[in-house]
């Protein structure tokens, strides 16, 4: 059964590719062995055919090199004018990507696929422009010479002796829908060259000498043919897989390329790529970070990073492993990743080192039973001098070197001290025993200050021991030869110990370093999970990442129109245009990337599962703090965490908005129902009564009665409308217009305002005589008093007692309105102050439940508090407080005698 079934993943892949291809433009590459074979000519002829078929063709870039036949082909095709790019004071012509995208041709011609754009263009390479064109659904014809292919770059360099700097990643070549080989036998090419059809005549001769040698041309032609054949082969296999012709499930090969710090790294990576391509295998490039490698000079570390980056560009997965034993770590990783082949570079260790340590290759072959090991040779070592540079690694920077400086001083001091001690002890102990004291000193120094001071200590120890204690004293010569053994052992032991302790320290340092990264991630994750708003997330991210990467961090989040805006002040550094591009395309750009590498900052998209959440811009102070692959992975992880947190907050906000909307909807409904009821009741009465009057059939006594009712109803409506307006005004945040005044003032006017309502009740006013002058808004406080008094009158039976009291209470004045009516429903004392809340909903007493809400808003705006409580044995009490502050002094005044 399984024999006939195609690999489901492969099928899925094929479908995906088809889907992608349907939307994308098609890429056709006119591929040639070298310049002059007629690629541009072939491309133009093909384009003319397409144009005759009715296709809209645009010439993006075509380099005719002054060739007449080619220029003739251009005739009749629309050519896109180049844009001018300023670079180092010169204005250079460059392809205008935006203009091309805007014109929306069906087919565009882009000569010289591997061309590097002028710095300052959007992309650093032309193939990236082409990618964007393809993504926009535009077909692209382009030309390419074999020497520009990345994986063949070094081979071509070896053949021709000319290293080409402009290269094209192989995956771009492999993804092209069509590759047309433009072939010309070397003899014909040379003949064309001689006839001046290729280059201009005076250039031709030098070019022939340097490049257009028949040998070269043959080799290049073979390379081009082979590369095309490989592609055809791969297509054939893809076709067969597609048609289930060969439904064999074969385990994919996986290649592991071990990158070292040696000079052949780039070649190793390229060989690895070629091997992987020929085996149709996935490949992984790893670098094992051992304690020894931490001490490498900068140049070699840079070479490692370069190797890893190249591998990444060539399509490899890259990883940095940590471990003390190179071979063991490599093989352990290889087994977990199911690697079948291991590629390593040839090591050039000298015979001495070979004795001390078995070379990697030997270790690998001894330990690797299930993995094939390939060895790649490299050119003779050219930059050994680089290895001699001083120690300066990321871990052991300026501070460490300073510390080592102190260490050397300490080593000398320790030897001096030991010598003093030993001189005191020599009368009592044997010399071979006191030597142990020196060993102790060496160990302590090595533990404390590392290898260098340890070595110094051992050398000085041996010297001082010899000089001061071994007879003849005060001389370096030795009378008794047995001491030579003591010296040798002592020196060796001291060296080994210092080496061991130093290595321990390195490993501890690396562990700390790793721990720090993990810790930083953990902290970031924890803090982000606690953040409630996007601004908090941004603050946390900036404050956490800045020290971690030693870089300025800017976080840009989009607004509702998908336009990015900066959240923190340092945002001015960020280029919003670039950031917007990154946000829209979901691709990293800026420093260290393929897009706009001349920008000072690195822009990373914050990709969350649902969509992009923003852009993280990084302005590094030290490049390696950000661009070490491991740091970069950390940065990416951080970006992912931030994006997740932003997305989480976004959905929390969405949910909250929904709740708020529901709540306000509910409130609006209750307002509408209450108002419609409470406005309609008096209105009905008014309409009824006035129509009664209009009929004119009522006697005079009744007329007065009706008029009275109409007035009362109207006033009640006025009251309701006033309350609603007050509430609206207070909610819109009116500030109290506070002035200095006595409480008596407002009490008097409030009592007068509700004179009518209070008729039939026993009113008692008890204001303390020593009330200070207060600062309040008279209109608003009058409103509070009127509402409280009216409530008291409304909710108590006629004849009840109502008391208005005021007295000073500490730093406040407490005003109470009390009655001896039925009191408040139990448990509702606080809820009464909510909007549209009434003690008894079924009550026929008119009102909407706004009065107390208004009171609370006003009192709180004055910095006071309002409370409701029940009195014993019955009755309600509403009390509010107003703060007392110091009033400005009054001028003096004397009594006059009458």
């Amino acid at each position: 059964m399984t024999d006939t079934r195609p690999d489901p993943d492969a099928l899925l892949d094929a479908i995906k590719q088809d889907e992608l291809a349907a939307r994308r433009g098609r890429l056709k590459i006119f591929f040639g062995a070298c310049a002059g074979v007629g690629k541009t000519y072939a491309m133009l002829s093909a384009a003319r055919v397409r144009q005759q078929e009715g296709c809209k063709v645009l010439v993006g870039v075509v380099e005719t090199h002054g060739r007449k036949e080619t220029e003739a082909q251009l005739h009749g095709l629309e050519v896109l004018p180049p844009t001018r790019v300023e670079y180092k004071g010169r204005s250079l012509a460059e392809f205008d990507l935006d203009c091309a995208l805007a014109r929306q041709p069906q087919l565009i011609l882009m000569d010289e696929f591997a061309h590097s754009n002028v710095p300052g263009s959007r992309h650093s390479k032309r193939w990236q422009d082409v990618e964007e064109l393809l993504a926009a659904g535009i077909d692209v014809y382009t030309t390419l010479n074999v020497q520009h292919l990345e994986s063949l770059n070094d081979v071509v360099g070896q053949i021709t002796g000319i290293v080409v700097r402009e290269t094209l990643p192989d995956h771009v070549f492999d993804q092209a829908e069509e590759v047309a080989l433009v072939d010309l036998p070397p003899d014909e090419l040379l003949a064309r060259l001689a006839a001046g059809k290729v280059y201009l005549a005076q250039q031709a001769e030098r070019a022939v000498k340097n490049f257009f040698r028949k040998g070269n041309l043959l080799a290049l032609r073979e390379l081009a043919l082979r590369r095309t054949a490989d592609r055809v082969d791969a297509q054939m296999r893809a076709y067969r897989a597609d048609q289930s012709i060969k439904p064999v499930w074969h385990a994919r090969e996986r290649l592991l390329v071990c990158i070292g710090h040696g000079p052949g790294t780039e070649k190793l990576v390229r060989s690895g790529k070629r091997l992987a391509a020929s085996l149709d295998a996935d490949w992984i490039a790893v670098f094992v970070e051992t304690p020894q490698l931490q001490r490498l000079p900068d140049a070699q570390r840079a070479r490692i990073m370069k190797g890893l980056k190249l591998a990444q560009e060539l399509g490899a997965e890259t990883t940095i492993l940590g471990g003390s034993e190179l071979a063991a770590t490599l093989l352990a990783y290889a087994r977990t990743r199911n690697v079948s082949k291991l590629v390593v570079g040839k090591t050039s260790a000298g015979p001495l080192r070979r004795l001390l340590r078995r070379p990697l290759l030997e270790q690998l072959t001894r330990q690797a039973h299930d993995v094939d090991v390939y060895v790649v040779s490299h050119e003779p070592d050219q930059d050994n001098a680089a290895a001699q540079e001083g120690f300066n690694s990321l871990l052991f920077g300026e501070a460490t070197r300073q510390k080592q400086g102190h260490g050397y001083v300490a080593a000398l001091l320790a030897c001096l001290l030991t010598t003093g001690l030993v001189s005191l002890l020599t009368p009592f102990f044997d010399l071979s025993n006191v030597v142990m004291l020196y060993l102790l000193a060496v160990v302590l120094i090595a533990v404390r200050f590392g290898r260098g001071p340890g070595v110094l200590a051992s050398v000085v120890s041996v010297a001082t021991f010899d000089f001061f204690f071994v007879p003849p004293r005060l001389s370096l010569s030795v009378s008794d030869t047995q001491y030579l053994l003591t010296f040798a052992v002592m020196f060796a032991v001291a060296l080994i110990i210092s080496q061991l302790t130093a290595r321990l320290r390195f490993e501890a340092n690396i562990a700390t370093y790793r721990e720090r990264r993990t810790r930083a991630l953990y902290d970031l994750g924890r803090e982000l999970s606690a953040a409630l708003t996007a601004n908090q997330i941004i603050d946390i991210a900036v404050s956490r990442l800045q020290p971690l990467f030693n870089a300025s961090i800017v976080l840009l989040t989009p607004n509702s129109q998908e336009q990015l805006r900066a959240e923190n002040d340092s945002a001015a550094q960020a280029d919003l245009g670039v950031a917007q591009w990154v946000y829209d395309k979901q691709q990293a750009a800026g420093l260290g990337t393929q897009t706009l590498p001349s920008n000072a900052m690195l822009y990373l998209p914050l990709k969350a599962p649902m969509r992009n959440r923003g852009v993280l811009a990084v302005l590094p102070e030290q490049l390696d703090q950000v661009f070490l692959p491991e740091q970069q992975r950390l940065l990416e992880t951080c970006a992912a965490q931030i994006a997740l947190a932003l997305e989480r907050v976004h959905y929390v906000e969405v949910a909250q908005d929904a709740i708020v909307a529901m709540e306000s909807e509910r409130l609006r409904n209750s307002v509408l129902s209450v108002i419609s009821h409470d406005l309609r009741t008096p209105l009905t009465t008014l309409v009824g009564l006035s129509s009664l009057l209009a009929e004119g059939q009522v006697d005079t006594a009744k007329q007065a009665d009706i008029a009275q009712s109409i007035q009362e109803e109207s006033l009640r409506m006025n009251h309701l409308v006033t309350n609603l307006l007050d509430m609206a005004r207070l909610q819109s945040g009116v500030k109290p217009n506070k002035t200095w005044q006595l409480l008596d003032d407002v009490v008097g006017s409030a009592l007068r305002a509700c004179q009518r309502n209070l008729q039939g009740h026993q009113l008692e006013v008890a204001l303390a005589s020593d009330l200070p002058v207060l600062e309040y808004d008279a209109v608003l406080i009058e409103r509070v008093l009127v509402n409280l008094l009216e409530n008291a009158a409304k909710y108590t039976p006629p004849g009840s007692d109502i008391t208005l009291q005021a007295q000073a209470e500490g730093a406040t004045i407490r005003v109470c309105v009390q009655d001896d009516g039925p009191g408040l429903p139990a448990g509702l004392e606080q809820k009464l102050f909510d909007k549209f809340s009434r003690g008894n909903n079924e009550s026929t007493t008119p009102g909407v439940g706004l009065g107390l809400a208004i009171c609370r808003s006003i009192v709180e705006a004055h910095g006071g508090q309002i409370t409701a409580s029940n009195r014993q044995p019955h009755g309600a009490a509403f009390c509010f407080t107003l703060p007392v502050s110091q009033m400005p002094a009054l001028p003096g005044d004397e009594e006059i005698q009458p």
Partner: protein
């Protein structure tokens, strides 16, 4: 009331309110001229030479306060302002601009007539020599000898309290703003020191009113000023 009918100009954009005022002032003694806009009102006032103007503060074409200013440029005839309850600051502005009194909407006929009468009487009194004594409730003020008595027994007032009282008496029946009082009693440099006024008004009430918490004569017009009720 004099025998000649009283001329009134009502400047108000709401027709129902104009109609209500016109029917309230219906009778032989009143002639009411209506104006819908501020500009029309200014023309009406200039041509009809009324005894009193009733002016709504919220007009469609111009600010009521601007109307008051323009009127005050050439006439001192009484102006009664109509305004809503929430417009305390506007009321004060209108009064300080020269309006004589105000009515808060909604208002009844009785209230409106009382205000109009006070203003008309004050206008007619304007030329007459001030009386020697002024009485309100049980209080008698001898303005020549500068003495005050309640139920016949003398009351001691400080100079400021006395000045305050006489200012109120001069404007009796109509509202007087805090600022006007401060200017009249303390002078221009104290016009912002509201607390002086409040404190001395409190003293005055303590000395004159039976129950200072429920004053019968010196009334507070909340947010605007004070009013001395005769009676």
């Amino acid at each position: 009331m004099s025998e000649t009918p009283v001329n009134l100009v009502v400047i108000e954009d709401e027709k129902p309110i104009r109609r209500f005022l016109a029917s309230a002032l219906d009778g032989d003694n009143w002639v009411v001229h209506e104006a819908e806009t501020g500009k029309q009102g200014l023309i009406e006032v200039a041509t009809r030479k009324p005894d009193l103007v009733i002016l709504d503060l919220g007009l469609p074409d111009m600010n009521g306060i601007e109307v008051i200013r323009q009127l005050r440029e050439w006439t001192d005839l009484p102006i009664l302002v109509l305004s809503a309850r929430t417009q305390e600051t506007e009321k004060v502005l209108a009064l300080d601009a020269g309006a004589d009194d105000y009515l808060t909407k909604p208002f009844g006929v009785a209230e409106c007539m009382a205000r109009i009468r006070v203003l008309l009487r004050r206008r007619n009194q304007g030329s007459a020599a001030p009386a020697q004594t002024f009485c309100f409730g049980p209080i008698e003020v001898d303005l020549v000898n500068r003495t005050v008595s309640k139920h016949g027994s003398p009351i001691h007032l400080t100079p400021i309290e006395y000045r305050l009282l006489t200012t109120l008496i001069r404007n009796s029946g109509k509202v007087i703003t805090h600022r006007e009082l401060l200017l009249a009693v303390w002078g221009p440099s104290f016009s912002e020191h509201n607390q002086y006024l409040r404190v001395y008004m409190g003293h005055l009430r303590q000395k004159l009113e039976d129950n200072p918490a429920m004053p019968q004569h010196i009334l507070t017009e909340t947010g605007v000023g004070y009013r001395l009720l005769e009676r």
